[in-house]
Symmetry: C2
Subunit: 399 residues, 2 copies
């Protein structure tokens, strides 16, 4: 059976409250009757998906690391970052659709969230690989907050073999170079985008087929600033739309030498990328351990100050001479200060401890992955050299 079928659904990558989701659900109900809201946030924000096809199954994975709660003005920690998966059945094909939002990049030069974003990209590719083994078609849409050549994107694409719609599309209509975060947007911090020529491409739609189905991207488009007839745009990022077409796949059996070389090259590249990611995670680990140490030291200083204050209050002669008592207002203020230092540093110490363990966990996984990839590479190389020696023996039978 030949079939051509457009996949029709919409992502709304991050909705800040369930009310917004319900508003969208009402508005889109006529054209997209199926929807799901992944509640990922601390207060009610989440990831929403609207679909023309029935949603058969869903699964949510929350990223282990996502910024710091005390960076409240950035809001990422409270927004909650996750990857949601929905399962559609289109003309007998199992289509796995992933939707995600990674931690924002607030400064490219001093990006303290880089290790967190790298771990999120690592967990994202892990989640996609582990959950899409039975998929005929895989689609990922997301605000990845990474430039196209950034480590996280390379990690994701090399491991999952997902293709970027922007590079694969037959026709493109939208902002220059596919920018989705542009200076023309009134919600954008313009200064940060100037070095990149007025915009960056940080929102993506990726796809891949399988033995059973081929996928091609017929068209890709972005919105260009304000909503027609309105002075404001849909969001702080431009919207991204892709038209994907699914065909029955031509099953190609047998692996040629060319493909084997390709696999070896790919594996070597993957080893390099995972090693690069591991280095980035190690840098993050070093920072987190230093922050935990600072929290512990400050906490100990707070405790020492509190004990000193109590000692001074208990033995007035030590303080301001035998006649003067410790002033009460100062006593209470200093006590409150010591307590708040102790309390906040304890919380920070626990938080940084959790960050350290999460980074260690990711690093452990990466070390194991590199080991496994290198073993596969060795097996292929050994196999190839054995083949070569056999061919040689076969070619010179009398030698």
């Amino acid at each position: 059976m030949d079939f051509v079928q457009c996949v029709l659904f919409r992502f709304f990558l991050q909705v800040w409250s369930e009310k917004d989701f319900l508003f969208l659900k009402k508005k889109l109900g006529g054209t997209h009757p199926y929807c799901h809201y992944f509640k990922s946030g601390f207060f009610g924000s989440g990831l929403a998906v609207f679909s023309k096809h029935r949603i058969h199954d869903t699964f949510l994975y929350k990223y282990t690391l996502n910024g710091y709660p005390y960076m409240a003005h950035h809001g990422d920690w409270f927004g909650g970052k996750a990857v949601g998966k929905i399962l559609l059945n289109i003309d007998g094909l199992e289509v796995h659709v992933f939707v995600t939002h990674l931690h924002a990049e607030y400064s490219r030069e001093q990006d303290s969230y880089l290790p967190h974003r790298v771990v999120q990209a690592w967990e994202l590719q892990n989640f996609i690989r582990h959950t899409s083994a039975g998929a005929d078609v895989v689609i990922l849409g997301g605000d990845l907050n990474m430039h196209p050549t950034d480590l996280g994107i390379r990690l994701l694409q090399s491991y999952t073999e997902l293709k970027d719609c922007f590079n694969e599309t037959a026709s493109f209509d939208g902002c220059e170079q596919g920018f989705t975060h542009i200076t023309d947007n009134p919600f954008t911090h313009k200064q940060g985008l100037v070095p990149f020529g007025g915009g960056i491409r940080i929102d993506y739609i990726f796809f891949k087929g399988s033995e059973k189905a081929q996928v091609s991207c017929e068209s890709l488009s972005t919105s260009k600033g304000p909503i027609p007839g309105q002075p404001f745009p849909y969001s702080d990022h431009e919207t991204l739309s892709a038209e994907l077409v699914l065909y029955p796949a031509k099953v190609e059996k047998g692996e040629s030498k060319q493909e084997k070389v390709c696999t070896t090259e790919k594996l070597s590249e993957l080893v390099n990328i995972v090693t690069e990611a591991r280095t980035e995670v190690k840098v993050g680990l070093h920072c987190a351990e230093r922050m935990r140490y600072t929290a512990a030291r400050t906490g100990i200083m707070g405790l020492a100050l509190l004990l000193l204050e109590l000692a001074i209050a208990a033995v007035p002669c030590l303080a301001l001479g035998t006649e003067q008592n410790f002033p009460k207002a100062s006593f209470y203020l200093l006590g409150a200060l010591c307590f708040s230092i102790l309390f906040s540093t304890t919380l920070l110490y626990i938080f940084y401890g959790m960050e350290v363990r999460a980074l260690q966990g990711a690093e452990d996984q990466m070390r194991l992955a590199v080991g496994s990839l290198q073993e596969r590479l060795k097996e292929i190389t050994n196999g190839a050299s054995e083949e070569r020696s056999q061919e040689k023996d076969h070619g010179d039978p009398h030698d």
Copy 2:
């Protein structure tokens, strides 16, 4: 190729600190050279796996709900509950091994953690289903803290079709009825086990094969109290060991009518079980909403008391007559009390809000799953009735 291969690995379901893991790693290094530690806890506890076969890949999923931090004496919230997955390659077969630990049951009659455990069982089956589509063999070992006929076990087994080693084993050696939590254990609260005949079976090893491999359980055993030659046992639960044998599978093609009836029955049963789980989650949701409301009310009362105190202090004539001032010690004590009430109720309100959203998320997924299962059931029933009418037409061509 005919092959028979025992799967050899050990789970250490919950290790309380990384030091314990490193100790075990050193001790087991000679026989089980491959291991992985899933850091799931708040302070360093986690799930450990030791294997004779190389571990090629790992993945960790932390459960959304896991008790309450203020129930510190129970410790589950701090221990962290998760499911870890490791990927082994045994004689060309892809073996997915899952290891988990669910929230403990402290009282069977008044089990306030039941909705949490049901959501954990739901997430566990979801994780296994979504991540093991490409597996040739699936093995799950875990301290599930549920009796064999409990809702969570039925949910897990019906959805994933995993088989319980205790029911499938060719030979069993161990405690009566496969008990793993017994009164003879010195770390056990004996009174709770009396109604169950001196023990319960709450630790399991499940398995399933695939089109490519058949799995059978040759033997299952539990330890029986103390370590030989020592007065104490290995743990608060008896250890569980299984010997699994993998054979190449006989591929059976074509689906008979008997199988179709079986599928219909299975789907109906699954709908009932998911509906039961949904009801349990709704009960939990109701409790969490009530607790959130209580926290809000108590917080408002604390705020009102604080404002009243400030008003009394500001206008002394309202307090104890025009001549008496508000006693300073009482003022500070009452102020501190109000602040601590406000602070703790705010934290509780946020925490219960997160619990409400997590339960709503699970309930949403369950509702969607029931809808999808019912649709499949309808399709099968419609297909069967169409087949019957076609057969009838075929049988009476002249009617």
